[in-house]
């Protein structure tokens, strides 16, 4: 009997890569893609790493593939923007060993800054894209993607969405196919993309694309399921297929496995057998527009929004006119910075000093939420630094703004912004919130933590030395829990006309096991409300002043420093 396991789809992708004989995986953490690398590294006979960003991850995988190994890079949808540069050109060079790029979209923005649809990347880069519907299929498609990659000499995208990536399903486990390293052969016409060579490769890209477009019509990855009804025909892919099977069992279904290229002729044939053709897809009308451009009449976004996720209930509402029960009106429970979060004190100070804060991507984006309400902008990884520079240039240095970025994000793409600020002399203040981890995605290592993905020791990139090497002359290192020191440092830095960097250090409160005990008590609270401005989930209003929940408090003592009456004391004082 084959072994079966209930598995997270991301784990199933890791398993599929392992079964396919993948040797090298490189990734940058990003919800909902992070668990692929985390699970892959646990398997035997493989190499896996956290790269500082997605561009590097793809380049590493490209290098490994050209060297003759099967290789993979994984990222969330916005990571593809960072990695787009190598991707568009590796589409030209093709591969040696198979190369698969996993991209995880996030409809509904559970943990993202936008709802971009990565399927358009496949089309514009001419890279085929497979999209599985569940964990078992994700494992199969991962292996199929490697087979395609080598068969057609192309990188292949594997696309998933949050509801697929973070769903568990029953997965059949198979053995690893050992894939000996292919011998590397020098081939400058294939791998050196300068105009003379690239012009010739572009011809090959177009021929390849036609061959794959023909192949997807018959290879079995796309299929139609007919019922006895002739009325309704649905075209769908990914998790939406699962919703359709659940909500509309009577409908004829065309399940798309290769979202690029689409099996246009097969869908045309399907459309002729049904009275009404409806494309149901999350995000953009990608399939719908392609079909319409090919002269296949269909419905789609006239019935469903491009925003948010679809669901069985939404399908029942549209097609069966069912009433969806609505949620009761209760207070919302948004995510918050944890008790003892080292970012809290810094944001308290920035708010107090009424500074404009150019924020970035990470837990510290939560500094935008009440009551701290400190963050003014958040666009993409690394944007805090470039935007702070832009603020200064627009206002001729008069703007009262600082940039705030995490350690992992700084290494991802903040450091280039810092180099720009030094070079072009804007005099920004950059605060690196160094919590020694990639926090929001669940504590991943990065080049400044001293550990690799597999937990082994690694050389540490020293943030202070790095900043100095970029030409920063004014650098201060403070304890993020020391509110007075943070305030002093920020005042000094912002008064300085040259670029200043403050590194606010403290490990993430969920990591630092040394504290982990409530160290504060409240006596004679005057109800002034100062500590309530910290937005600490351990502090709440009681009948006679504030109450500190000892189960949540980790003893950071930021509230002790903030209380103007000395009513909050360290334990034992």
């Amino acid at each position: 009997m084959q072994k079966k396991e209930l598995m997270l789809t991301n784990q199933a992708i890791a398993r599929g890569a392992w079964e396919a004989g993948v040797r090298v995986l490189s990734a940058y953490p990003g919800t909902p893609s992070t668990e692929i690398a985390e699970n892959f590294v646990k398997l035997d006979g493989v190499y896996a790493e956290w790269a500082p960003n997605e561009k590097v991850a793809v380049e590493v995988a490209v290098g490994a593939a050209v060297a003759g190994a099967r290789a993979m890079a994984c990222m969330k949808h916005v990571g593809v923007n960072v990695a787009a540069d190598p991707l568009f050109t590796v589409a030209y060079t093709g591969v040696g060993g198979g190369l698969v790029i996993v991209v995880a979209d996030d409809p509904g923005m559970h943990s993202s800054q936008n709802e971009q649809d990565s399927r358009y990347y496949a089309r514009s880069s001419h890279i085929p894209m497979l999209e599985p519907s569940n964990a078992q299929e994700a494992k199969e498609f991962t292996k199929l993607a490697f087979a395609w990659s080598e068969q057609f000499d192309t990188p292949v995208f594997l696309r998933e969405t949050t509801r697929v990536a973070h769903s568990h399903g029953v997965v059949e486990l198979l053995d690893r196919e050992e894939r000996p390293l292919k011998a590397y052969e020098k081939n400058a016409q294939k791998y050196v993309m300068m105009p003379a060579n690239a012009i010739k490769r572009h011809v090959i890209v177009e021929e390849r694309e036609k061959a794959i477009a023909k192949y997807v019509e018959t290879c079995g990855v796309n299929f139609a399921e007919y019922t006895s009804e002739k009325e309704m025909g649905i075209v769908c892919s990914g998790v939406v297929y699962e919703y359709v099977k659940e909500a509309l069992p009577q409908a004829n279904v065309f399940k798309v496995g290769s979202v690029y290229p689409l099996p246009v002729e097969s869908i045309r044939a399907f459309s002729k057998k049904v009275a009404r053709l409806v494309v149901i897809e999350e995000l953009e009308p990608y399939i719908e527009d392609t079909l319409k451009a090919q002269g296949i009449a269909c419905e789609g976004k006239n019935l469903f929004s491009i925003q948010g996720e679809l669901s069985v209930a939404k399908l029942l509402q549209v097609f069966e006119n069912k009433q969806i029960p609505v949620p009761a009106q209760v207070p919302v429970r948004p995510p918050v910075m944890c008790a003892g979060c080292p970012h809290r004190g810094v944001f308290y100070v920035l708010n107090k000093l009424k500074l404009t804060v150019n924020g970035d991507i990470g837990c510290y984006t939560l500094g935008a939420v009440a009551p701290l309400s400190a963050v003014d902008t958040c666009v993409c990884m690394g944007a805090s630094v470039g935007m702070a520079h832009g603020f200064k240039k627009a206002t001729e240095g008069k703007s009262n703004n600082v940039a705030v970025i995490g350690d992992s994000t700084f290494l991802h793409s903040g450091v280039t912004g810092l180099i720009n600020a030094v070079y072009n002399q804007s005099g920004i203040t950059l605060i690196i919130l160094d919590n020694s981890t990639t926090g929001m995605t669940g504590h991943q290592q990065h080049p400044a933590t001293g550990k690799t993905l597999d937990g082994n020791p690694a050389p540490v990139v020293l943030l202070d030395e790095l900043c100095k090497a970029c030409g920063v002359k004014h650098l201060q290192i403070v304890d993020a829990y020391d509110v007075v020191a943070v305030e002093k440092a920020v005042k000094e830095a912002t008064a300085n006309p040259e670029v200043s960097v403050i590194i606010a250090q403290r490990p993430c409160a969920l990591l630092d096991k040394k504290l982990k005990k409530p160290a504060v008590k409240v006596t004679d609270c005057k109800n002034c409300g100062k500590c309530m401005k910290l937005g600490c989930p351990a502090i709440s209003k009681g009948e006679k002043g504030i109450v500190i929940d000892t189960a949540q408090c980790v003893g950071c003592e930021v509230c002790v420093q903030v209380c103007p009456f000395g009513c909050i004391k360290k334990e034992g004082e």
Binding site: A313, P331, G442, K541
Partner: protein
């Protein structure tokens, strides 16, 4: 087909509870899918895990009005997802109050009649003090296992298989504690 919704606050141990039910599904020869959300939503925010068990499961997500049971680890969270419950569904609530940030800051008020409303609106509502029971069993961390014990009896899951699933999912050194918590949860309803 069985639809289960587990709701709570990030960090309450809802994920382990879903793992145990998933294991139960496999041990009882069924197909199973689980859907959960990681990332930003976990930082003390509302957390829901969807679990579907049956001969053949398509959607990993439970839809509104279809849940056979809701296992709520916090009272307000029970009210938040109540509309997922089908008419004769079971609503098991851990009577614990965790203030959301808007209630801490005073921007919103934690309603004091949540339990009364749920009791009035849901025939199959059952409240237990799972955290207290877990502490009696040896650790408040076993709150999730207490809840599983209670739902096991309320819904009529196979007790022996569920206990096996619990043992398979918890660390070996905490086996006795969790089995104890499971049985105490079972007896509490």
């Amino acid at each position: 087909m069985m639809n289960v919704l587990i709701s709570g606050v990030g960090g309450q141990g809802t994920i382990l509870a879903s793992r145990v039910l998933g294991k139960y599904a496999l041990l009882s020869g069924n197909d199973c899918k689980i859907s959960e959300i990681h990332g930003m939503s976990q930082r003390g925010g509302s957390v829901t895990t969807h679990l579907r068990i049956g001969k053949k499961v398509y959607s990993p997500v439970v839809w509104e009005g279809s849940a056979d049971m809701i296992i709520a680890f916090e009272t307000l969270e029970a009210a938040r997802v109540k509309h997922y419950l089908k008419e004769d569904g079971i609503l098991l609530v851990n009577e614990e109050k965790i203030l959301p940030m808007p209630c801490i800051t005073g921007a919103a008020v934690y309603p004091d009649d949540v339990k009364e409303k749920l009791t009035a609106e849901v025939k199959g509502a059952k409240f237990i003090k799972a955290k207290e029971i877990a502490m009696q069993a040896g650790s408040e961390k076993a709150t999730n296992i207490v809840m599983l014990g209670s739902i096991c009896k309320l819904y009529g899951f196979d007790k022996a298989i569920m206990e096996e699933a619990v043992i398979a999912c918890v660390p070996a050194k905490f086996k006795d504690l969790n089995v104890n918590a499971f049985r105490m949860g079972y007896e509490s309803v």
